[in-house]
């Protein structure tokens, strides 16, 4: 709040929190709220499971399982927050692109670039705090409902209090990461010059490619090292199950490399998908739009890629393990074991799916802001003969472009990671009938239900992502759009 107070909004520009109504802020609050609620629910669930295990006479106070669950929660919350941070940073950088003129005007009057940036970051903190509060409330409601259900369903459910002080950790984490993300996303403010307030400057098509070679080299190195470890893990896995540990590290490194180097990886893929849409004017415009700000689109897509990859990975890994174990057992898997595996896979898929939902919110938001900021261009296109139907098609294709690229990439990566996980863990299992030969290289088993769910979710995401911008774009009369200053 103090940051906002440094450069107070003048009474002429509206109430002090008027900026919260700006397009994109609501979605940022939603993103922060989602990750905070997710964090709260997971923390509560972890404590609850810990209590339950302690109460169990067989498992007793061997804390190992509770620790495993706790580590898993921390990883999952961390991932959700990471995706939320990417989304928020991206949103803020997009919002600022649309504010250029206003910032330039303040610079012209005498505000320093630094104070302007501090103001934006302060807005991030406010957004993060509001989101965290909403998230905590929502998380508590969900947990209360869950506990109530558990009390009725599970015999001997432990006494449980919702008031766990640890739930403040994810809330605080969300507020702070949103603040940090807004700060990172506001880097652009520093490049705004007072002259830009005077008009006449031509819109830059492409973001100054902000070449940060060090980051790209780092991403590339992580990627190469990660892939090398993945291959090594698979090879080691042919002789011992410990291969999975090596592969796990490889997976972590290569995935981090991918998310850092999204700008290197995604644009070529986007271009490839764009070409598949054909040569019609709407398809070409849509493809070009999706690549207009390569960095923005890449980050917009990478969150979805991460979510889809992880969901697919769990699905494929567990399905492959089941298939292999069934083979090793001579055709049939213990049905009880099979159910446990399926349940675990389903829970994990839902949990990592939350990150995909957060990324989806970011995608919807960014597409909408993107269209709003292109109002004048849409007016021009409408004037020279783009029909409302073509506008609709263009925006739908633009959304489809990014969702298809992200989902396809995620599916391919997820199948690869899932297969590597199964392969490096069980490549050394001895197989019937002689039990002298090991499993060797197996074929990945891809369960179709999760894949179908992902594809349907992608279709829904695309439609939702296209709906709001389409409504905005087709409602605008060409004359009105051309008059936008």
């Amino acid at each position: 709040m103090t940051a906002v107070a440094v450069v107070p909004e003048s009474t002429a520009t509206g109430p002090r929190l008027g900026w919260l109504r700006e397009r994109g802020m609501g979605a940022s609050i939603l993103v922060a709220g989602l990750s905070a609620a997710f964090g709260v629910v997971l923390v509560e669930a972890t404590v609850y499971i810990g209590d339950m295990l302690q109460a169990d006479p067989y498992i007793g106070d061997s804390g190992t399982l509770a620790v495993v669950v706790a580590i898993l929660s921390v990883l999952l919350i961390g991932m959700a927050m990471y995706v939320a941070a990417i989304v928020t940073a991206n949103t803020f950088s997009t919002i600022i692109a649309g504010r250029t003129r206003r910032i330039a005007l303040k610079r012209l009057i005498g505000a320093s670039a630094r104070s302007q940036r501090t103001e934006v970051a302060g807005q991030g903190l406010v957004v993060g705090a509001i989101g965290a509060i909403i998230g905590v409330v929502a998380g508590l409601v969900i947990t209360a409902a869950g506990v109530w259900a558990a009390d009725h369903l599970i015999a001997g459910a432990p006494e449980f209090s919702l008031a766990q002080p640890t739930i403040l950790l994810p809330a605080l984490g969300v507020a702070l990461t949103t603040w940090a993300a807004a700060w990172v996303g506001s880097r652009r403010v520093l490049t705004v010059t007072p002259l830009q307030a005077l008009g006449g400057s031509v819109d830059r098509t492409h973001e100054d490619a902000a070449a940060r070679p060090t980051r790209h080299v780092g991403a590339l190195l992580l990627g190469i090292l990660g892939v090398a470890l993945l291959v090594f893990g698979v090879l080691v896995g042919l002789t011992t199950p410990l291969g999975v540990v090596i592969a796990f590290v490889g997976g972590l490194l290569s995935f981090t490399g991918l998310s850092l180097g999204a700008v290197l990886v995604m644009p070529p893929l986007l271009r490839l998908v764009g070409r598949a849409f054909g040569r019609s004017a709407t398809a070409r415009l849509a493809a070009e739009n999706a690549l207009r700000y390569p960095e923005r689109s890449s980050r917009m897509a990478i969150g979805v890629v991460m979510g889809v990859t992880l969901v697919t990975m769990f699905a494929v890994a567990l399905e492959s393990i089941k298939a292999l174990l069934a083979q090793a057992a001579g055709g049939q898997l213990d049905p009880q074991f099979s159910i446990i595996m399926d349940a675990f896979a389903a829970v994990m898929m839902v949990l990592v799916g939350i990150s995909a939902v957060i990324a989806g919110v970011g995608l919807v938001n960014l597409l909408t802001i993107g269209v709003v900021q292109r109002k004048r261009e849409l007016g021009l296109l409408r004037a020279i003969g783009l029909s409302n139907g073509q506008v609709r098609r263009m925006i739908l294709l633009e959304a489809l472009h990014i969702t298809i690229t992200a989902t396809a990439t995620g599916l391919v990566l997820g199948i690869a990671y899932g297969w590597i996980a199964a392969q490096s863990l069980l490549g050394s299992v001895r197989m019937p009938p002689s039990f002298e030969q090991t499993a060797g290289l197996i074929v990945p088993a891809v369960p179709w239900i999760p894949v179908a769910i992902i594809v349907v979710a992608t279709a829904v995401l695309t439609l939702v992502a296209a709906a709001a911008p389409t409504r905005l774009a087709t409602r605008v009369a060409p004359v009105e759009a051309l008059a936008v200053e």
Binding site: G200, V202, R204, L291, E377, I384, G385, G389
Partner: protein, 274 residues
């Protein structure tokens, strides 16, 4: 002067009204576009603002017409309605022999795409497409490629506009003058019945501005292209074959080609009289 002009307008209207019953067409009158008794007001009740107040005028075929007037005179509104970008509150408008008042959005869009060319003051080009992509856009929106004849015309235009080496450039890689020339090429490429130019030199230095105006008057002189240009710049208007003056939503004068000095003197006198 205002008085004279409005009397002139009444006479012209009287002439036109006398043939109204015979369903005379726009092309019979030698016009590329015309409007009749056009009114446009914004808002309602006490806050209502009248932008156009019973305007009747035609844009002659093959001529370069300038529409002048001070800010708020209604000149942009007139152009927007004539070009099918906006709907009037009352009155009728034609492009060629097609009455555009009452047309649906899709019909209007297709009409603009095929039969009207546009040159705006700024932001004329789609930033994601290169110069050639922008020039070909009206064809591609129509779902077709230019015919051999159209291709030849585009090549000639590109040559004449000196854009040959720039076709692969994106708008932000072009100077303001080059961007306007690409816009001219796009507007002329489909050989539309009418080209509307809205302050086409407003954002240019005087030399680039002069080039743009010479290109427009060449297109009208040499290829018989009908052009209507909205401007408040006397020098720009002096390139036109005919200068229409708007004031308070009415046509207040209709002059043949004039020098910049004459136009400026007229505008000054009108300003003082107001």
């Amino acid at each position: 002067m205002y008085e004279d002009a409005s009397r002139g307008r009444c006479r012209a209207e009287g002439r036109r009204n006398s043939v109204e019953g015979m369903e005379i067409t726009t092309s019979d009158l030698g016009l590329a576009a015309r409007v009749q008794n056009l009114t446009k007001s914004y808002g309602a009740g006490e806050n209502a603002v009248t932008a156009l107040d019973g305007v009747s005028v035609g844009i002659r075929k093959g001529q370069f017409t300038a529409i002048m007037g001070p800010s708020g005179s209604g000149k942009s509104t007139l152009m927007h309605i004539m070009a099918g970008l906006d709907a009037p509150t009352g009155g009728r408008a034609w492009i060629g022999d097609t009455e555009i008042t009452g047309l649906g959005d899709l019909d209007l869009t297709i009409l603009r795409r095929r039969r009207v060319g546009f040159i705006f003051q700024a932001f004329n080009l789609v930033p994601t497409l290169d110069a050639l992509g922008n020039i070909l856009l009206p064809f591609e929106l129509d779902g077709r490629r230019p015919t051999a004849l159209e291709r030849a015309r585009i090549d000639a235009l590109v040559e004449r506009l000196g854009l040959g080496a720039r076709l692969g450039h994106r708008p932000h890689e072009l100077s303001g003058g080059q961007q306007q020339r690409v816009a001219i090429a796009r507007a002329l490429a489909t050989a539309p019945e009418l080209v509307f130019a809205d302050e086409p030199t407003g954002n240019l230095d005087s030399r680039s501005g002069r080039e743009v105006l010479e290109l427009l008057s060449f297109a009208s002189r040499d290829q018989g292209q009908s052009i209507a240009m909205v401007t408040h710049d006397a020098i720009a208007a002096s390139h036109a074959d005919r200068v229409l003056f708007l004031g308070d939503g009415r046509i207040v004068a209709d002059h043949p080609r004039q020098s910049a000095e004459q136009i400026a003197a007229y505008m000054l006198a009108a300003e003082v009289a107001a």
